[in-house]
């Protein structure tokens, strides 16, 4: 078990020092998310449509699009120089590879989101601070769901010639429940409701996270076999 955790940690460590040197992942995700938000602001008239109504959707679309860029980059890294083969030849359980990539994708996304939230607050003039705790929960659960299935699908699409475009095509329809859930919960949290008032959404997104992590553990062997 200790060895297993060390292997997961090694993969996360490797992704982090790569990122610290290049800063490619963070900068591309952050700027892209920012652009998505700005383009949305231009496409709706904020004086007619309430910021609170459109805001949560815009936020999650930005996270989703930027996250896709992150997933693509993250697995491109493994494909360059055939590193993936090196990982597969190492005495590492395939699920450790999955968890390693899941953790680093998850943390990178959270860091990007942490930088986007204050900007979102300013642009949409919504005070997030009173609702910070429930909002944090919604973001954690939503992002985890995205990363759980995103990591599986990006390790699947890394085998394709057209992986850049196939990842969103495969990922987005499957992400619909999490996106709807996260947007609904964010909207209700921002209008001051507590999480206990929307247990159906909390349950649905949690179930989604758990089921897709479980399915990934069961199928990752087949995905990573050459």
């Amino acid at each position: 078990m200790n060895g297993y955790l060390n292997q997961v940690a090694a993969i996360v460590w490797k992704d982090f020092i790569t990122e610290l040197k290049t800063r490619e992942l963070f900068s591309s995700m952050f700027i892209f998310a920012l652009l998505v938000i700005i383009i949305f602001v231009f496409s709706v008239n904020l004086s007619i449509v309430g910021a609170r109504e459109i805001g949560p959707g815009v936020l999650w679309v930005a996270f989703l699009f930027a996250g896709t860029i992150g997933l693509n980059r993250s697995f491109m890294l493994e494909k360059e120089n055939g590193c993936l083969q090196g990982l597969l030849l190492a005495p590492v359980d395939r699920t450790a590879l999955y968890f390693g990539k899941l953790v680093s994708n998850f943390v990178f996304l959270l860091i990007m989101e942490a930088f986007i939230l204050p900007l979102f607050m300013i642009f949409f003039n919504i005070d997030l601070l009173p609702h910070l705790l429930p909002l944090l929960y919604v973001i954690l659960v939503g992002t985890l769901g995205f990363c759980a299935i995103g990591t599986l699908l990006s390790s699947l699409s890394v085998n394709l010639k057209t992986r850049d475009i196939m990842l969103p095509i495969l990922l987005y329809p499957l992400m619909v429940p999490v996106v709807i859930g996260s947007v609904q919960m964010t909207g209700q949290v921002l209008s001051g409701e507590s999480l206990s008032g929307m247990m159906n959404w909390v349950g649905l997104t949690l179930c989604f996270d758990i089921i897709y992590i479980a399915v990934s553990i069961m199928t990752i062997d087949f995905v990573l076999e050459e």
């Binding site: 060895g3 060390n6 292997q7 940690a9 090694a10 993969i11 460590w13 490797k14 020092i17 790569t18 040197k21 290049t22 890294l77 360059e80 120089n81 055939g82 590193c83 083969q85 090196g86 990982l87 597969l88 030849l89 190492a90 005495p91 590492v92 359980d93 076999e225 050459e226």
Partner: protein
């Protein structure tokens, strides 16, 4: 058919290290490997020649546990390759034309990363020693991205041998190397061929391939068309033998 060695160039234990029995691999309708069987004793060096598409890489992938054979069985270092077991992977090292190095990590960081995956003790010492052995001590803290192809290949050897594997696979290791790098790689191959390690190499390069091996195989259309001890091969006329074998 099972080929057995009569002459041995190195002292061996009774059990073969690599034991392959009637391995087959289909890719849908395409048969990449068809009924290959052979034994390889400890310390032996087998070179496999063959045209593109003969299934050489697939054979290496099966033996290193990356691909499942459709049928047949094989054990490497006493472990079944079918199980894809973690213990098998600890015993083998693979060097192909893909370097498996992370371009944005330094030479040392790459070795440290792989060392952690293999769960090695005294990792720092081992990694530094391995870097010295392949003559990259001055570049230890440089990103791999800045390395030439030859230097990357040397670091790859350090990466693949860091965990001291007992069986080494070389899949077209000379591809894309210049003359100097080829010579360095040959030197390393000589060093690795000490009688302790069992080596299997696939290559197109006739002279490099024949230079070091104990046994020679020619693979064509998924089969071993020939498997002989090097002593029985006329090195001068091997090219002729090779073309004749393929035409059979």
């Amino acid at each position: 058919m099972v080929f057995c060695m009569s002459e041995q160039t190195h002292p061996v234990s009774s059990d073969p290290v690599v034991k392959v029995r009637d391995i087959r691999k289909d890719f849908g309708y395409l048969r990449a490997v068809e009924g290959i069987s052979f034994d390889l004793n400890k310390g032996e060096f087998l070179t496999i020649f063959g045209p593109n598409g003969a299934g050489k890489t697939t054979l290496i992938k099966i033996l290193s546990g990356l691909t499942r054979p459709t049928s047949g069985s094989a054990t490497v270092a006493g472990f079944d390759v079918l199980g894809g077991s973690v213990r098998l992977r600890k015993e083998i090292g693979v060097i192909s034309h893909a370097t498996c190095l992370y371009p944005d990590l330094t030479a040392l960081e790459n070795l440290l990363f792989y060392g952690k995956l293999y769960g090695l003790n005294d990792l720092e010492d081992k990694a530094n020693k391995a870097i010295n052995e392949v003559g990259l001590q001055l570049r230890r803290h440089d990103r791999v991205r800045t390395f030439s192809r030859g230097m990357q290949q040397r670091l790859t050897i350090a990466r693949a041998t860091l965990h001291d594997p007992s069986v080494l696979f070389f899949d077209e290791p000379f591809t894309g190397l210049d003359l100097q790098a080829t010579n360095v790689l040959k030197d390393h191959l000589h060093e690795l061929h000490t009688g302790k390690r069992t080596l299997i190499m696939t290559t197109h390069d006739m002279s490099c391939g024949l230079e070091m091996c104990d046994r020679v195989a020619i693979q064509n259309k998924g089969r071993f068309a020939m498997l002989e001890s090097i002593d029985r091969i006329d090195r001068e006329n091997f090219e002729k033998l090779y073309t004749e074998t393929l035409e059979l």
